[in-house]
Amino acid sequence: MTPEELECIVHARLRALPSPRAPRSLRPAVMAAVRARAARPWYARPWHSWPSRWQAVSAVVLVLAVVAVVLLLPDVVAGSGFVATAGDRAMGAIRVAGALGQAAYLVTRAVVESVGDALTVLFLVMLAAVTTVAAAIRRVALGGAY
């Protein structure tokens, strides 16, 4: 039997097989999950299913939050310079990092996970990179003063 003949025979036999039927448990399971999902308030659903006006509002809030971080980060970092000892400085830095981490977590949880969109993730990563570079430039421009 040539490979071409084998291909034809296998193709015919496989296509002649009865198609597997979905188990009876599938639809009830899907619909139970769907009803639970439909019962959630709009803000607990994935971002792309939010009402369009709330999508717009949340996008504006996100942009404002990022801009605020860009503008305020140097002052926050500089504020930690008032502490006297190295230990206090370290604690201040940890608090700032913790606050930023918490903010990033909340933003990620509220928007990024629900969006599930690679482009949005890329956009946020690029914004974070720009924020970091801007903060570094400010520090360099201020002579590392803090």
Binding site: P3, V10, L17, P18, P23, V30, M31, A33, V34, A38
Partner: protein, 173 residues
């Protein structure tokens, strides 16, 4: 009729197709059911876009296929999935002898033969079954399969050929 009711009709219409696609690719009913459920939950999130679309079936097949790939690569490292390793099912030798004996029996009914072939396909190693199913059921070309799986064209052809050879003994002339 509410969205949920419309969606239930949508699920009823496509559940067999989605499950069959997943089951052929994964070879395991429980995994196929999990994937099918995930597919429909994603469909529900976009139901306003795909609910009445003629492209719904294509969208469902694409999402099902992609989720199956994710499932396979999540449970087995990709290098192992598409390597030459056999499936490590403990009952494989017993199944081989059972199938051989069954396939050689003269009194075998057509339905039993089909069942044997289904089981033989299911028992193929993933790296043979997945491209074989994509070729024979999803009408994908060798090149498309190679692109989808991220392997060479030669490997796809070899794996599909070996899969066919493995099925040959269970196909009555």
């Amino acid at each position: 009729m509410s969205d949920v009711d419309r969606f239930e009709a949508f699920v009823e219409r496509f559940e067999d197709m989605v499950f069959a696609t997943a089951f052929r690719l994964l070879g395991r009913q429980a995994d196929a059911e999990d994937v099918a459920q995930t597919v429909f939950l994603r469909a529900f999130e976009r139901f306003d876009q795909i609910g009445d679309s003629p492209a719904a079936a294509g969208w469902l097949k694409t999402v099902t296929t992609n989720l199956c790939f994710n499932h396979l690569s999540r449970h087995r490292a990709r290098w192992r999935l598409f390597s030459e390793l056999r499936r490590d099912d403990g009952d494989a030798p017993e199944f081989e002898s059972t199938l051989a004996a069954s396939a050689e029996g003269d009194a075998l009914e057509a339905a039993q033969r089909q069942e044997v072939l289904v089981e033989a396909l299911r028992r193929l190693p993933d790296h043979q079954r997945v491209p074989l199913v994509l070729y024979h059921y999803e009408d994908r070309s060798y090149q498309e399969i190679a692109d989808l799986l991220g392997v060479s064209l030669g490997k796809v052809k070899t794996d599909i050929h070996r899969g066919r050879e493995a099925l040959k003994r269970y196909i009555q002339p």
